[in-house]
């Protein structure tokens, strides 16, 4: 692929560009969610696009694609995610935003029993090209706090309860670059994919992103730093913590390798095992609660 000189985009801008480019090439793609645009129906008063989602990743899409394809929804996660499932079974490719992953309790059946199982239960007769985007984690991280003050119902990770479900692909990008590539891959996938977008990265991360459309493979981890002595495994924002740790360790003469897991399900066991087979040591950095967690799954893989 030839690429132009990469510009710096924010994490949210990269996702926005991914969705925009895909919507231009495929009229079957729609975006639904609470305030994915904002000020719905108020264009006659001069109000459009008032919000753009929690990470502003969908801001501006309504001015290009209109309210027919950028659908602000009422607060009804079970209803509009279900509509997304039904639309995906009947000819559309919906991208549904659940504002925060903490809200999946309101629509978990649509994820667990409906979207993830349709292809299997129906013996392969339907495709389910559905993307669920949701923000996770904490906003904080300015060297004073990793919290952010949002409390226990707006700071969770919860990816373990998603990765547990067969049939659902669970993707956690860590940079603006891989956020764009993985989002495009998710949109082109014919099955359900949930993308967890870290709030801190969404609000703070920036990085080089080619203007061209490109995909990155779902189901592949990436070794982002080569090392001999220990494998540090990170998910989403924690990959950056791993890299910072690797810098610190380097000053102490320890050569750490950093693996960015990127897809939690299906897990790229091969890349992780290959790394651990060389370093013989595995440290998993995870911000989720430990019981039945993806971290434990990674330890199990590496053991």
């Amino acid at each position: 692929m030839t690429t132009t000189a990469a510009r710096e985009l924010s994490f949210g801008q990269a996702i926005n560009e991914a969705i925009r480019q895909e919507m231009r090439r495929d009229p079957k793609i729609i975006v639904m969610g609470e305030d994915v645009a904002g000020a719905a129906g108020r264009a006659h008063l001069g109000f459009v696009d008032a919000w753009g989602g929690p990470l502003r990743a969908t801001r501006g899409l309504i001015t290009e694609f209109g309210p027919e394809r950028i659908l602000d929804t009422p607060i009804a996660e079970m209803g509009f995610l279900g509509a997304g499932v039904g639309a995906a079974m009947s000819g559309l490719r919906p991208i549904v935003e659940i504002m925060f992953v903490d809200l999946i309790g309101c629509c978990y059946d649509q994820i667990m029993n409906q979207a993830a199982k349709m292809h299997y239960m129906m013996g392969g007769q339907v495709e389910l090209p559905l993307v669920i985007r949701t923000a996770y984690g904490t906003r904080g991280g300015d060297n004073r706090t990793y919290g952010g003050g949002a409390g226990a119902q707006h700071s969770q990770t919860l990816y373990a309860v998603l990765a547990h479900i067969p049939g659902l692909k669970v993707v956690v990008p860590s940079t603006a670059y891989n956020a764009k590539g993985l989002t495009i891959s998710a949109i082109r996938d014919n099955g359900p994919v949930i993308i967890l977008e870290h709030k801190f990265l969404g609000l703070r991360a920036k990085g080089p992103v080619p203007e061209e459309s490109y995909t990155l493979p779902i189901g592949s981890a990436q070794i982002v730093r080569r090392g001999r002595d220990v494998t540090l495994c990170g998910i989403g924002r924690m990959t950056h913590i791993c890299s910072e740790a690797a810098d610190s360790l380097s000053a102490e003469g320890i050569d750490a390798e950093v693996v960015d897991v990127l897809t939690l399900s299906p897990l790229d066991e091969g890349t992780i095992l290959e790394s651990v087979s060389r370093t013989r040591r595995l440290v998993v950095v995870d911000e989720d609660t430990p019981v039945c967690s993806v971290a434990r799954e990674l330890f199990g893989t590496g053991a």
């Binding site: 209803g79 029993n113 067969p166 014919n190 099955g191």
Partner: protein, 362 residues
């Protein structure tokens, strides 16, 4: 007299006429005189009514003789609801169904031999043995799935209607649910979405009086579920769900409204399931026997037969021939299911993820 709910009613007089429960066949005939399905459609309706009945009765016999067909919820008694609604739909339209879904499948055109094979857990089944009774699906005929998580199919029908609107087709979607399902939030969220987006949806509530063993008068806050249509600014009508022609007439009006872009409607069909919630359920623990007999006295198939014969719309010879053909069709479906192969253990692990299509750019 059943009530009519909802607001912004059109054709109030016409809809009012649909709500009567009079057993006076003369007034029934007078009521039908101006608006009847075509003769061809009437024949189709009788064929589907009796095919569903034959399928379920044979299934019940198979279950009771020990054939392992999994958990089943017999539709027997409610046939007029599925057939009346589907008679108003086109082949390209969509339906979404409930756990009690065999009747909806047959009414929408799913082939009974593939359904029976699915129940037998054979690879020739509609879902390649991966669904069973509670997941029968055939998207080729617009059947989006039997769905046993109560209320969820309603949201999927709304999604299909959204798809039709975005893709600018004339398709409509019918969402079946029971009076039990009328209590789950998903149904209300779906109704609100369909109303604000003016989606082409028929919300079809089959009120059979019982959610498992919980009676409707205990669980539902309103006297008529159709009254809830008012909360979503859509027409709501209660019809006699034992009268396939009345269900068809209400559905045809709702379909016409939906295709005109005027949004969803709610149709409540008053009906009754003859058997328990599922196979083996003893209804004597929660329903009076007199009530069950009273429902059987209003049997939808006998009634359809009487209506069409009394009015000289169809002949007994035609109807008898349909019943005989259906018995043969179910015989063949059972033979097909019995002779089909079982899945292999490795089949457990296929269809977990949706594959990329051949040649697709990734």
């Amino acid at each position: 007299m059943l009530s009519r709910g909802g607001c912004s009613q059109e054709k109030a007089g016409k809809l009012q006429r649909l709500t009567h429960t009079s057993s006076n066949s003369a007034s029934r005939a007078a009521g039908l005189a101006q608006n009847l399905p075509s003769r061809e459609k009437l024949l189709w309706m009788y064929e589907r009514l009796t095919l569903i009945r034959e399928f379920e009765e044979r299934l019940k016999w198979l279950v009771e003789t020990g054939v392992p067909v999994g958990a089943v919820h017999y539709y027997t008694g409610q046939e007029a609801c599925a057939v009346g609604v589907c008679a108003a739909l086109e082949p390209g339209d969509w339906i979404a169904s409930t756990h009690r879904g065999h009747g909806h499948c047959i009414a929408k055109g799913v082939e009974v031999h593939r359904m029976m094979a699915e129940l037998y857990g054979k690879t020739t089944g509609s879902n390649r043995a991966k669904g069973g009774s509670m997941h029968i699906t055939d998207v080729r005929v617009g059947m989006l799935g039997v769905n046993p998580i109560v209320g969820m199919g309603v949201t999927h029908a709304v999604g299909a209607a959204l798809s039709a609107k975005v893709r600018k087709t004339s398709q409509v979607a019918a969402a079946f649910f029971g009076e039990g399902g009328a209590s789950i939030g998903a149904v209300h969220e779906a109704m609100n979405l369909a109303a604000i987006w003016k989606l082409p949806v028929l919300f079809v509530c089959e009120n059979n009086g019982y959610a498992q063993a919980t009676p409707v008068e205990y669980a539902v806050s309103v006297r008529r579920i159709a009254d809830r249509a008012a909360a979503y600014s859509m027409p709501g009508v209660t019809v006699d769900g034992q009268d396939a022609i009345a269900v068809w007439e209400a559905s045809a009006a709702a379909v016409e409204r939906a295709r005109r872009g005027q949004g969803p409607s709610l149709i409540e069909c008053m009906t009754y399931r003859y058997y328990g919630h599922h196979q083996g359920d003893d209804t004597g623990r929660y329903r009076p026997r007199e009530e069950e007999q009273s429902a059987r006295d209003r049997d939808c198939i006998r009634r359809f037969r009487e209506q069409t014969l009394d009015q000289h719309l169809l002949t007994a010879t035609e109807l008898d021939a349909i019943e005989a053909a259906n018995r043969k069709k179910i015989d063949e479906a059972v033979a097909f299911a019995e002779s089909s192969p079982l899945p292999q253990p490795a089949d457990l692990f296929t269809h977990v993820y949706v594959p990329a299509r051949d040649g697709e750019q990734k």
